[in-house]
């Protein structure tokens, strides 16, 4: 597609509910990142995929967070048993390849509110 597409744009979840956030990166982009952005803060790294391989998941805050990219394109971020502190914008980004000079492009984000 023309840009990084994320869905849903907005999600309200009851505490304890599981949620799944989808990211459709720019076609042909090898690298895919997930970030969490709390209100008033910059994006914080969660995880990184190169094609289907999850090379870094050091930013995932707990074992309730799980990400996958099984075919090297679309990725899903799953949060199990959501807690109020999970409320944030979840941003997906992609870049053409793993190289320092590449620009990463962001989606519009998925706003998660846990009530």
């Amino acid at each position: 597609g023309a840009g990084v597409s994320q869905s849903p744009r907005y999600k309200v979840a009851k505490r304890g509910q599981d949620v799944a956030l989808r990211c459709d990166p720019i076609s042909g982009h090898v690298s895919l990142f997930w970030y969490q952005q709390a209100l008033g803060q910059g994006p914080e790294f969660l995880t990184y995929f190169q094609n289907e391989a999850q090379l870094d998941k050091s930013g995932l805050p707990s074992d309730r967070f799980f990400a996958e990219r099984p075919e090297g394109s679309v990725s899903t971020l799953k949060i199990q048993r959501t807690q109020q502190e999970d409320s944030a914008v979840y941003l997906c980004a992609s870049s053409l390849e793993r190289r320092r000079g590449n620009t990463i492009y962001f989606g519009e984000g998925s706003w998660l509110t846990v009530v």
Binding site: V4, Q6, S31, F33, Y35, G40, Q41, G42, P43, E44, F45, Y48, L55, D56, S58, G59, L91, A93, R98, R100, G101, T103, I104, Y105, F106, G107, E108, G109, W111
Partner: protein
């Protein structure tokens, strides 16, 4: 670990005024990215700087990277209400694995 600090945290200016936002890295930068974010939206890429002393301009926005590649500034000339938003600097982390890190952002409000 590498960190990016932005200043000021927030800025309110009158339309037509010039302004500067700064981004300082704790380590040498191999590339510095500037993004703009409007409330409720994703990050929009503005510019990328790679070489020490490099300067780029787009419309009324100019970004510079210092010679030591540890500091960057974003300058807006004759600000307009359309410039309002959150400006974020980002860089490829030189610590650990391949990932991008970001500053906490500068919130700009332009009064008409």
């Amino acid at each position: 670990s590498q960190e990016l600090e932005q200043s000021p945290q927030s800025l309110i200016v009158q339309e037509g005024k010039n302004l500067t936002i700064n981004c300082t890295s704790s380590k040498t930068l191999y590339g510095l990215y500037w993004y703009k974010q409007k409330y409720g939206e994703g990050l929009i890429f503005l510019m990328m700087l790679q070489k020490g002393g490099e300067e780029k301009s787009h419309e009324k926005i100019t970004a510079k990277l210092d010679e030591k590649k540890q500091q960057s500034s974003l300058h807006i000339t004759a600000s307009q209400p359309s410039h309002a938003g959150i400006y974020l600097c980002g860089a490829v982390s030189t610590s650990g694995t391949y990932k991008y890190i970001f500053g906490t952002g500068t919130r700009l409000k332009v009064l008409a």
